[in-house]
Amino acid sequence: MISVPVSVQLLLPSVLFLIGLLGVLIRRNVIFMLMAMEIMLNAAGLVFIIGSSLWKQADGQVMVIFILAMAAAEVAVGLALILQVFQMHKTVDVDQLQELKDERERG
């Protein structure tokens, strides 16, 4: 077996994680943000897989299953919310969601 150092192994999830993070920060479309979050969560899952293979334990894999399931739940709720937003605003652009903001005392 070719052994790859852990740091190198971690590079892939890290890059994925950053891609996801950037996606959330840059994208304004809620659906894309949701997808970016999925990437982040899956990157985290990958980290657990690496840990699991490194320490020869199944624990990490269990965690991954939970991460997957929870990500799915998040997406399900997210989609429902996005639908509602679309119905109200006819857009899924987060920048259009501006009802809630700081209103300072004038003068």
Binding site: L34, G45, G51, E74, V77
Partner: protein
């Protein structure tokens, strides 16, 4: 694998889980708001009753640990949810939307919160965190015709999901470095010294950031006001109290198991605490919206809590717990009043948000006004209220661990805070030019009773805190054993 004798230790969780499923079936069978409401209350009482026995640091399959801290906070959470449930009934009474599912979600969120405070393992923590968060997304956006609520829900969803991802990624890195996901095992490792590897540091940093998001500490606080303002008031109460309290307990467990806090980590928390206290109070100063004001106030209050966290040790823990209880009472009361005074509108419940709409509340509803004023004073840390003893205790823990910088900032920021709390109080008691009309809420009896209980607790813990403190010290003491 299967320890039957450990089952009772998890009774609250089991009861809550069963209750949420049964509640769902109840709704499927027949929709009835009152019945579902009563059922929820009943199951909460049952869960609370099952806490009766205290389990001395019982570990359940490594996933959970039932100790004094856990049981105590579980109890506090259940009681708080009880109040929130009571407040929810009149709030949704006149609502056009289907309101029964709200209670299912409430029970689920409670399940998440209560299991988080006893979780002793990354898996159980993550699971409970997500149960809590996912229910909260829906709870926040529950009045689905209100664009503000839906917007708040989306915002919370995005930020909470990102923070979960950050948190889990951080936990993953810790796992890769240590090979352990159980806090107890991590603690054992920590005594041997965990190598300060770059990945480990990044992992810890990400965990702090993730937990910071959940606790709405300062660099990660941006979601708080929007979510508080947009969510229905009972949910805001939930977000402000339970979700934060439970995450805080895990924060405590995590860092006390990783061992005596390293200097760098402590520094990070000192900075976070200072920033939260100052910025939270500062931003609250000019708020015209009561819920946003409470949101910023909660940021500051969490900052105070972090002072106790940094102080660490037994005093810190006691202080944090006492403070948490006082904070819970205040937030519950404040949001309870907001939800009580809301009026039905076409798309949902119209809440009274601007401070000016509370002008002269005292002349119309003196009881409510006095309670709200007392809550504000408690948040400000004025004697006679639980908030005073809480803040005093936190100060004590800060002084005890000679965190002078934190202590001074706490004092300064409290004074800033005093300003806006008093502004609210003055508003309540000033005479309005045109008398504001307040709705007569239905079912004022149970809500009134709840307010009375909160009032009594607020004063009781403020005047004679000895009992609560003894309780805390007795229970929390068990962690060590």
């Amino acid at each position: 694998m299967w320890h039957q004798h450990l089952l009772p230790a998890l009774f609250p969780q089991i009861i809550l889980a069963a209750a949420s499923v049964l509640c769902l079936l109840l709704i499927a069978w027949k929709r009835n708001h009152a019945v579902v409401h009563l059922f929820t209350l009943l199951s909460l009482i049952l869960a609370l009753a099952s806490l009766g026995k205290i389990y001395d640091a019982t570990a359940v399959d490594g996933l959970f640990v039932i100790d004094g801290l856990g049981v105590f906070v579980e109890g506090v959470i259940l009681i708080a949810v009880f109040f929130i449930t009571i407040f929810s009934y009149p709030y949704f009474f006149q609502s056009q939307i289907e309101k029964e599912e709200y209670y299912v979600l409430l029970l689920l969120a409670t399940l998440g919160a209560t299991s988080m405070v006893i979780s002793n393992h990354f898996v159980s923590f993550f699971l409970s965190l997500e149960i809590l968060s996912v229910s909260l997304y829906t709870l926040i956006a529950y009045p689905k015709k209100m664009s503000a609520s839906v917007e708040a829900g989306v915002k919370y969803l995005i930020l909470a999901a990102v923070s979960s991802a950050v948190l889990v990624f951080g936990l993953g890195l810790i796992y890769v470095q240590t090979g352990q996901m159980s806090l107890a095992e991590l603690g054992k490792l920590a005594t041997g010294g965990i190598g300060a590897n770059i990945w480990m540091i990044v992992g810890l940093g990400l965990v702090i950031a993730g937990l910071g998001f959940k606790l709405a500490l300062v660099p990660f606080h941006l979601w708080t006001p929007d979510v508080y303002a947009g969510a229905p008031a009972p949910t805001s109460a939930f977000v402000a109290t339970i979700s934060k309290g439970s995450v805080f307990v895990f924060l405590w467990r995590l860092f006390s198991s990783v061992g005596t806090m390293s200097h760098a980590v402590q520094l990070i928390f000192v900075v976070i605490a200072i920033a939260s206290m100052l910025i939270g109070n500062w931003l609250a100063l000019l708020q015209q919206n009561l819920k946003r004001l409470l949101a910023y106030s909660s940021i500051a209050n969490l900052g105070y809590l972090i002072v106790a966290f940094v102080a660490s040790g037994e005093t810190g823990l006691h202080a944090a717990m006492f403070f948490l209880v006082a904070y819970f009472i205040c937030m519950l009361g404040a949001f309870g009043i907001i939800s009580f005074l809301s009026e039905p509108a076409e798309s949902g419940q119209q809440e009274r948000l601007s401070l000016s709409s509370y002008t002269g509340l005292f002349w119309q509803k003196p009881g409510l006004a006095v309670l709200l004023a007392l809550i504000m004073l408690s948040l400000a840390g004025i004697p006679l209220t639980a908030g005073f003893i809480g803040k005093f205790y936190v100060l004590l823990s800060g002084v005890y661990s000679t965190q002078w910088l934190l202590v001074i900032v706490l004092i300064l920021s409290s004074v800033i805070g005093l300003f806006y709390y008093l502004r609210v109080v003055i508003q309540l008691f000033s005479r309005p030019e045109t008398p504001v009309s307040y709705p007569a809420s239905p079912y004022a009896v149970s809500t009134g009773l709840a307010f009375l209980v909160l009032f009594i607790l607020l004063i009781w813990f403020g005047v004679a805190p000895g009992h609560l403190m003894d309780q805390i010290s007795q229970m929390v003491h068990m962690i060590k054993g």
